[in-house]
């Protein structure tokens, strides 16, 4: 069976064939591997890939696979051929470039450092959030114009809530 796996925004071809109850033949980027994969306990996976041993913690959420081993974290999207076709169609429609400033953790807004309509450079400080006794400044990734500010100083915010939206400057 053929899959496309997306790691760090790069698409990679992976082909898999079952060889036994726990044994698989896997071709990654054209390289063949013999794999013995076992589910050891909830969330834990032990794989022997060409006899090298790796102890992997995983979570599966739809097509997203999160893996952790040897102190490294991997977020991989795995798509079969049908899903890959759907994705290609969808991506043609996706043209919005608005950056949404979020906080990855709940906290309190200490200060909003920008005003609506203001032009900001990539890496500029946008907002200060206090969480776990520390003040943290959140910066924007891209240059642009501040479009909407959803929060104000003093307000408590949830993780992943949209705080501020920044539109790319029109060229």
């Amino acid at each position: 069976m053929k899959y496309t796996a997306i790691l760090n925004d790069k698409e990679r071809e992976v082909e898999i064939t079952r060889q036994g109850p726990h044994q698989f033949h896997v071709i990654v980027d054209g390289q063949p591997h013999e794999v013995d994969a076992r589910h050891c306990s909830s969330g834990w996976f032990s794989i022997l890939i060409d006899n090298t041993s790796h102890d992997i913690y995983f979570t599966l959420d739809k097509e997203n696979v999160e893996l952790n081993f040897r102190s490294q974290n991997f977020n991989i999207k795995v798509l079969d051929e049908r899903k890959m076709r759907m994705r290609r169609i969808r991506s043609d429609l996706d043209i919005s470039g608005t950056e949404i400033i979020k906080t990855s953790m709940p906290g309190k807004v200490v200060k909003v450092l920008v005003k609506e309509g203001e032009t900001v450079k990539s890496g500029a400080g946008i907002i200060i959030i206090e969480a776990m006794k520390m003040e943290n400044e959140i910066q924007c990734r891209n240059s642009g114009v501040v479009k909407t500010i959803h929060v104000a100083a003093g307000q408590t915010v949830e993780s992943d809530a949209a705080l501020i939206e920044i539109e790319p400057e029109q060229i």
Binding site: M1, Y3, A5, L7, R12, V14, I16, R18, P21, H22, F24, V26, V28, D29, Q31, H33, V35, A37, R38, H39, C40, S41, S42, G43, F45, I47, T52, H54, I56, Y57, F58, T59, L60, V65, L67, N68, F69, S71, Q72, N73, F74, I76, V78, D80, T103, S104, M105, P106, G107, V110, A131, M132, K133, M134, E135, N136, E137, I138, Q139, S159
Partner: protein
Amino acid sequence: MSKKKLKKILIPNRGEIAVRIQRTCRELNIPTVAVFSDPDRYALHVRYADEAFPLNGSLPQETYLNQEKIFAIAKKSGADAIHPGYGFLSENAGFVKNCRERGITFIGPPPEAIEAMGLKTKAREIMLKAGVPVVPGSEPIENTESAQAEADKTGYPVLLKASAGGGGKGMRLVEKPENLKPAFEACRREAQSAFGDPRVYLEKYLEKPRHVEFQVLADSHGHVIHLYERECSIQRRHQKIIEETPSPVLDENMRRKMGEVAVEAARVCGYVNAGTVEFLVDKDRNFYFLEMNTRLQVEHPITEMITGVDLVEQQIRIAEGEPLIHETIPRRGAALECRIYAEDPANNFLPSPGLIKALTNPGGPGVRNDSGVYSGYIIPMEYDPMISKLVTYGENREQAINRMLRALEEYYLLGIHTNISYLRKIISHPQFASGDYHTHFIANYQDQLSDSGSKHNDSIALAAAVILSFLRSEQQTAGRQQGQPEHTSAWKLCGRKRSMGL
């Protein structure tokens, strides 16, 4: 001071340090009383305690800093002693006086010593009088204008520090005059929220300084000894994250001199119990008194590793009025501590509270993990993101480092972001290995440390991800055929199945 065995110890603290103290109490067969804020009902220190009482509330002021509530619980539970841990009330002289008035033994120094050393500015004055070299700095500063004047006098860069502070909280480096005002304000806010005291002072910022501190123990019979140094120069945002002992910079002569000064510093302020004398060492290996921390330090375990002494036990014995049994304490080998934080190094070190989905603690030879969390615990957003302290011992520095790398690799803490792989990068860095580093180490090597790591595990990850997806789709198909709802975890079944054979 008369001798008196302690019967029950209340610990108005939380997290790993509360558990650390409970462990020694349990070994000494002294029951412990835990207190907890609303978000901490599920915390490990509550589960580990013999007794636990709610503080009702979530703000520090209404919980771990609320003396009235704590004393009421001490009375109700019959606790005759309080061990404050670090942070919270640990360096609050008023609290210690209140303990004294109520006949409760405070396991720590007398209030006079805390006052003398607690106001960093007063401590500096005392040390200068005793002939101990001190880093140039100011009195407490009340407003931005005085801050500007003092900074101009000392010369930039300067460090702003909470007068009542410690542990890196409420500390800011100011390199240029235009940055002083916002830094001063942020510092006061943090100082207020962390220590309940907004006062801030200012200190000359030394070039390429190393931070070296000495552990001291003083009993109530006038004996003071030191238990060698801890090198704490690996700091991020003025917070120690890796500590080691012995310090790679000290030779025996310097160690002896600094140890004598540390003992003298404790003596001149009438110190009793465990304390730490902090020094800065400049690039020419001059040393300056920085401050004295009148409590157990976060990094005390590395001293325990090389001396074999349990510092919490010593604290309790001293509080009971026992004399120190050690004249001098030999040391052996080397030890290293890494502070494990719930934070995201890839995202500006933002704290990362949330559910710990899986946890494997490292073990085996020479490894100690002082943890405050467990698998299934939800790290609350209200507190410091430090979740454990990983400590290794080695016959020598190289072995301690190699063990730390091994232990960090064994440490799986999943569901949240942690600094584990970041710590590995620091420890594997050749400059760290050389021992020749100072407090700017992290700032200097920031780019190398934020490298996203080797890509050679990519194909392993890809193979694993595809196998997982493949197995799930197989099982979903099988599930649909058997009429099972799709959301039933096929993975559970898979885990159970294996008892049936290969």
